[in-house]
Assembly symmetry: D2
Homo-oligomer: 457 residues x 4
């Protein structure tokens, strides 16, 4: 097959080069966006009388036909034709004749691939935003369902203070909210149409780029043709957002794995979302969470790949940039799969609220409450902290909980301690008392739930 650019060449491309440089094996994923872009381009060319209305109609119909044949699997993708753009254009010309040869007027593969990737990412980021929203709703539902359950709150993976399970779950809702906002900001900057920038400098033909952009549903037309074809910021920003979201998922995964251990026993995952062992018959493994955690590396790696690729590239387009697609595609698919499978898994999750409640009182978790009690009685915080430290140490050495001390024993540590200390030692009471804004009290958790319910409507 003759290369469309072979005019000045005297030798055939080497076979190894052909397979080294082809991108059709992966950029065929962009076929819909490529056809969409070409359709709009043809319409614009006709409107500007660069081609005739009849030619445009033939092109659009031909593209429609190709669309059908790709959809039904009969389209003959060829790596000799390098990429999705050439594959489609070649087929078009074969099908509709000379009019096909006019489609590439006033554009180049440089702006064409940029518009394709932007259309693709716009679609996928909208989907990701929806998946995040669905996940947030699931978290809010779980928080509401378990809002009464008290659990140990951790810092340094040491039990720190009792918190409401709902409060802990809503922390993830807050993370996903930021993720959504970040993707939406990225979407804004992706929603810019580069088509018509041509190779790098625009064209002398009387195009109307605003019209093409409008047909394609873009918010804006790119303002500098050199930048239009050499810019991959939108892909890098997408990968950064994806990496941060995956980081959130890895933290959740870590918790789900910990909570599934025999040692924690905070949750039980359903059989539908766990797998077994090829050798140990008793095992029920949190594989989904583990894989989610492992896939974090993959998305981080994709970000590094594209950052590395773009480093030090002179303007405008360089062929290195062909390698932008795989990390983007892989990250999109990884992230979407994680968000989807996670949502299902969470809906099947059972919390062992009894054990959560039991353990929430262990580990001297209400020590801070004693300190705050003393503060309310006028003891400076640092002294209150120290007194409480001594109380805890004494309990540890006697191997008893805080509630194991008599009031008399407690008062011996400070004359400020009297009978009203007793409720303070109760985890449920501790939680109830933390009514500061964003705190773990039932009222504050309720407020958060209402806030997100409204936001997620």
């Amino acid at each position: 097959m003759k290369k469309l650019w072979s005019g000045r060449f005297t030798q055939k491309t080497s076979g190894t080069v052909e397979s080294f440089t082809e991108s059709i094996s992966f950029d065929k994923k962009l076929w819909k966006h490529d056809i969409k872009g070409s359709t709009a381009h043809a319409r614009m060319l006709a409107r500007q009388r660069i081609i005739t209305k009849k030619e445009a109609d033939a092109i659009v119909a031909g593209l429609q036909q190709i669309s059908v044949s790709i959809e039904n699997g009969s389209f003959p993708f060829s790596s000799e034709l390098e990429d999705i753009h050439m594959n489609i254009e070649s087929a078009l010309t074969e099908n509709i004749g000379p009019a096909g040869k006019k489609l590439h007027t006033a554009r180049s593969r440089n702006d064409q691939v940029a518009v394709d990737l932007r259309l693709y990412l716009k679609d996928e980021m909208k989907k990701i935003v929806q998946l995040l929203k669905a996940l947030q709703r699931t978290f809010v539902r779980l928080a509401e369902k378990n809002k009464g359950a008290v659990m140990p709150g951790y810092t340094h993976l040491q039990r720190a203070q009792p918190v409401l399970l709902g409060h802990h779950l809503l922390a993830y809702t807050a993370m996903f909210q930021r993720d959504r906002e970040r993707f939406q900001d990225c979407l804004k900057r992706t929603d810019v149409c580069p088509l018509g920038a041509c190779a790098l400098s625009g064209t002398s033909l009387p195009t109307d780029r605003a019209y093409t952009a409008k047909l394609l549903g873009f918010r804006e037309v790119s303002g500098n043709s050199i930048d239009s074809v050499s810019d991959r910021d939108f892909a890098l920003e997408f990968l950064s957002c994806a990496a941060i979201t995956m980081m959130h998922l890895s933290r959740l995964a870590e918790e789900l794995i910990l909570w599934s251990t025999e040692e924690f026993r905070f949750i039980e995952m359903s059989d539908r979302f766990t797998t077994g062992s090829s050798i140990m018959p008793q095992k029920k493994n949190p594989d989904v969470a583990e894989l989610m955690r492992g896939k974090t590396g993959r998305v981080y790696g994709n970000l590094v790949a594209l950052l590395t690729l773009m480093k030090g590239l002179p303007l405008a387009y360089n062929r290195d940039m062909q390698e932008d697609k795989l990390p983007v595609f892989d990250s999109v698919e990884t992230l979407e799969a994680c968000l989807e499978v996670l949502d299902g898994m969470l809906q099947d999750l059972k919390f062992n609220t009894e054990r959560l409640s039991l353990t929430s009182g262990e580990g001297y978790s209400t020590a801070t409450d004693i300190a705050e009690y003393l503060v309310r009685k006028g003891v400076p915080f640092r002294e209150a902290h120290e007194i409480t430290g001594r109380i805890v140490l004494s309990c540890i050495s006697r191997n008893i909980p805080l509630t194991g001390l008599s009031l008399k024993e407690l008062s011996a540590f400070s004359p400020k301690i009297s009978g009203d200390i007793i409720p303070v030692l109760d985890p449920a009471e501790s939680v109830r008392a933390r009514t500061s804004f964003g705190g773990t009290s039932p009222s504050e958790v309720r407020r958060q739930i209402n806030y997100f319910k409204k936001l997620l409507k």
Copy 2:
């Protein structure tokens, strides 16, 4: 010195542990923000009658005093006191007595360090946005000054089509515009006050977090206390933005280095912004640009460091997170230094417009113009492309430029070619003709300059 948390401990911390865990050697950079945060916190405590007005006044005055002693270098930083928070609080109590012991009421180092880092990044991102703006202005000025100069536009580092130097320079202005917007979006999400989240669950004391946030100039109060202390999204998002900006700088650096070569000779850097060789007396090296390109790796590395750190951390605070500061500080300083030195260097830069213009016509750079000429004469683009390819090949084999062909020779390639082809072969004419939106024509470059001038006012 006694640790402020030593109540329950029976043994002294090991010396190697002390130096392994200390952060004062780097987090002292946050002293201003720490004092600012403590001042606001004390005011809020007094307003809520958790401490007295008099105590608050003593605290604020004591902090002011510490501020002075840090500023004049007399403050005795101690690594035994671990971090900036403990160093300041200890000094405060030493200076003002018991009131100092009340400052840490209703807060924890977990929310304190989060608020410090956010205050720091807010300041620095505002500065970075200003530096980017200044750089954009310099680019616009350079573009305007050199707007008539024609240069070769490149793809694949091969001369592709003539463009205006101003057009090329404005591509960078467009990149920095996106950088600015990204930092501003990040700023929005950084502008959230975590103070008052305490260790992780809020407090039972009657704080007013909104008041503290207002005193500190935050736009918003964080809504979930667990998330407040375990969230480092704002730092990661900052590092992502910084990495993308550094990528832009690396591309510019690469071009400046290329253009400074004996082979390109497109620019001359001033002696003030180049350095010499310890062995080769004739050398004048573009070190600033090289270092800028090299420092890109540093900022990428910082992003990877923090992404790695956060991966898989269970909620809420973990000590790993202490390691968030160095990559952030280093990226801030690296980026600011690059932006500052670059601005100076650009102002001193001389473009060799004569050579730019000369080379813009070499390399068959107006071949696309011939193809577009044929399109205007009704030849389908693909045919036009092929005809032009043959013209170029013929010139190459005879080692002559396009203008070396007579009209008769040209017409032999296509009957559509007539006398009006002559101006098409002129690079200046080629540039003038590319009037499509965002194209390289003088009118479009003018439009871009006006657009940015208005935007950067």
Copy 3:
């Protein structure tokens, strides 16, 4: 299809989980190694009388049959069967009956996948070492062919001193030599057999791990069963080696791209190894070199992916580790493709030795020679350096080369300068004089060529 581990499970795995957790879509690449491992395992089991000789024969024949059906494309891979191990074992049992159910005795998928990946990497690293060797030979051949050609040597991309083209090319041979040695060291550590470590703790059955290892051609048996299944050092080390090699390729690619520019014109790539433009008919782009440079990011990203994945994983096997394969496979394929295509490209490369020689004398490239001349005359180096600096400056201001100065003018800079300075200013002479070990003189380049020729025999 029933999962082989479904004994204790009461619910079917969810469909989304199945597709989320399957690895058959990519680990089928390991089929040959999996069958090889199973064959050796069965032989060992029989030898140790854990199964009968007859059962082992049936297993080996069955595996052979599966091998044939995979080879000819008729094997029905199923994602319900999760991975390559289960796919093959299931088919085996289906084909040969009960004996198949004995194959998984005294092993687990944990040690099985580890042995598969090690066998795979051993094969591929040996291939990579050969490809590197072939490439080194090509470089030596090019060096020998062009050994007389003088070219400008660069630092900071500024012409620094004349060097022999052969000398420059041999620098890459030296890099690839280190690459080879690194891969060989990695190979040594990969050549350790984990099979028989079972799930993590070994087995109570009387296996002979040394025998299995011997059958599989391993140098050593792993000594700690927990480590055996949780260790991926060999994969990380491979990825590190691959990243460093790709870095070398990216430097070479950068030079090939630079040298192909109109500005440098040091080389001409053949049509067979370049491609054209869809819009600019005159373009001949060094796409292969650009893609090679771009693919560097991909391999870096793969290294980051696996480093991230392994961070913080508790012992022993975790499902995260299933994600080790894709970055390894992708890096192997990327690196091999680059090495192969590069070798071809270099063989077709033409050096423009005339231009190289011409430019080698420009840019005051023999200035260091003047300084060394003065040193030989007893001038301290720093003074010699400064005197030469002044000579260069004077030439620059008059826009003449060093040879443009008369002897009288030269002597005015230092009384030590006399007639014997003339040959010193000649680039060819400069090169000839640099006879220090490893220097650029023809004799030293000859020595290097001989050294590598012997080494690469």
Copy 4:
């Protein structure tokens, strides 16, 4: 102060450029190696009669003097003098007069900095290898001390099979063994002397590079001068090794953190190696382990930084490479600090062997033993696995351990089960039985201990 290279320059370097390009603030760490290198260089110059013996003596004495003044803190480092090389050379000339101006004969900063960094890394890698060895010894000691203790072995963080604590600890000894070997291989490739390669092409002066290398204790002289100054493979390889070692430390850290939780309670860290909370008086946090885990990101980031930096750099030296030092220094210090503090912490660690033993029998951890028991009775493994799965499921549904089933109940699952199953259900027995090579049986653990004791002598 006048720049030593200022001969051809007419304008002073800009102040911002000076502080942007200086490296003295960090490369002064190399002062010892720089002086060592210069001393050897001077000796060689004298031996080759390039300078006189008297001049060399003056230089060496002068360097010695500088060494003293740096040691005692009186040396006036100046950023105007850019780097450690120029600072020392300038001081030398000031102190000893004209002879100082001869030191830089036949070398350049390009080979000088390469030799300094290699000397530094050789020293530090030797130290790291010793620290790893010490750590291995500590692990072997711990393994020996606790060799009788049984604990739950984990996969997927689910209890899988009982193992010996000593076996688990020795897994880390095996990891550190590979780390040591990797550093030693890297050391081999670092032990190559680049000094004398000069700027890039060697010298016309009659140097003896082998002699300098010998004086400096190098194993080999670099063979290609261009490669000598543009090669940073040794630094990259070091960073790769460091990253893999940090990955190991992060896994250990994760386990120490998990084991310190209230939920696991497998270990108790001493007060000397834990820290407290500024707000929660009861907390005792595994900060050292957390920081170690967090610092993993830092070393990964350093590797990415240098890989990014080197990508696409044309030969030979480029100023970007000045940025190689910070990631190397930071990784050296981070790794050494981690290894040191860890060793101390482990020596203070107490294992809760009672709880380890207790939990080792929970979670149906001997299920695999039942399956292997059935295999020994002739049941094909897959059937044995399934039968055991059903036994486990039945226990789970009745909420009893495996030992809760009567022999009659057990036999109901398979007629092959008889009285000799009873010991099989005992974790201690399970461990004893796993005598396969590298397995967890006491005999195998003993073998490993002996192996390492001999190796570490």
